[in-house]
Symmetry: C2
Subunit: 191 residues, 2 copies
């Protein structure tokens, strides 16, 4: 006989879907890991193979987002200025979110409503700024230019994202962030 | 007879001094609130009149810093651009820290060494960005210009502060932040 080892198809996606549903139905605090696993038809043990806690379900995409943006910086034309490489990274992020509009907005609504989630988001954004600054240094950008350009990009990302989430019928994120970057250029120029 | 109610002169300052000494001597994790109170010659009860936990000792100045920077934005010449009001706020902050150089660097060394303190610092910086954006809106600056200008200022503050802390014999914080703001203007202009 022996133990049946069953491969769970798309366990990650099912856990995320179950968590989102439960967070929306009952509120983030009220939901336990056991309930998420049950709704997904999986075990708690499986949950903890993918996530350290229920907060992390909401930030599962952070590493992929960082990789995507870092690659965009690395692949940007060598002739461009550092801010152009960051603009390319913002475009890449925008395109990714624009393909998942409704899900990204639902996720953000949950985060915005909880201080502990907003804090974790700040930590993820700070990590993203560090990764982008490193990517710029890899291109030969010095300091503090690398750090400042990366932080400027994160400011645009943060403010652009907030505006995009607040206006569900509005322009897509890529456009909102391009407009925010233009606005940042304008305000730093003293306009 | 009756209970003696003793006024403790400069309890706040004594608690801060005691906490800094103990954090430096034994490391942040190892120190308890009871030990901080004892070193200061005060009771735990007095400690909790001033701070919610031992982390807050390191952020006791955050509200005063925010007030100082917000006032500088409010008092900046009406004819100036939003970024000039933020520059005035950075100057005010720089002057405050330059008067407490050694203490500010010691404090930062403790924060940098602990993830939970770096997280709380990110939260304080995000709160500072919100306060500065509100102060700009009070001056009639619209959105997203107000948020972006405030975030740009916080980027300069963060990077400038890191550089200043890393170079104890270097230029003062006011100068480091002015240079960082010039650099930010330069990188956003595509240089």
């Amino acid at each position: 006989m022996g133990v049946m080892v069953r491969w769970e198809p798309n366990a990650l996606g099912r856990l995320q879907q179950a968590a989102f549903e439960l967070f929306m139905e009952r509120g983030f605090e009220q939901v336990t890991v056991a309930e998420i696993a049950e709704r997904a038809g999986l075990t708690e043990r499986t949950f903890f193979r993918y996530f350290t806690d229920k907060r992390e379900v909401l930030f599962a995409g952070a590493a992929a987002l960082s990789d995507l943006m870092v690659s965009a910086v690395a692949d940007a034309p060598e002739s461009g200025a550092p801010i152009d490489a960051i603009a390319a990274a913002l475009d890449a992020a925008g395109t990714m979110f624009d393909e998942h509009g409704a899900g990204a907005r639902r996720r953000q609504a949950i985060i915005t409503a909880h201080a502990e989630l907003r804090e974790r988001e700040l930590i993820k954004l700070a990590g993203l700024a560090t990764a982008l600054a490193d990517a710029l240094r890899q291109r030969g950008v010095g300091d503090p230019a690398a750090s400042l350009t990366a932080e400027a990009g994160i400011a645009v990302f943060k403010i652009g994202f907030e505006r995009w989430v607040a206006e569900p019928g509005g322009p897509d994120l890529t456009r909102v962030m391009r407009a925010a970057l233009d606005e940042l250029k304008s305000v730093t120029a003293g306009k």
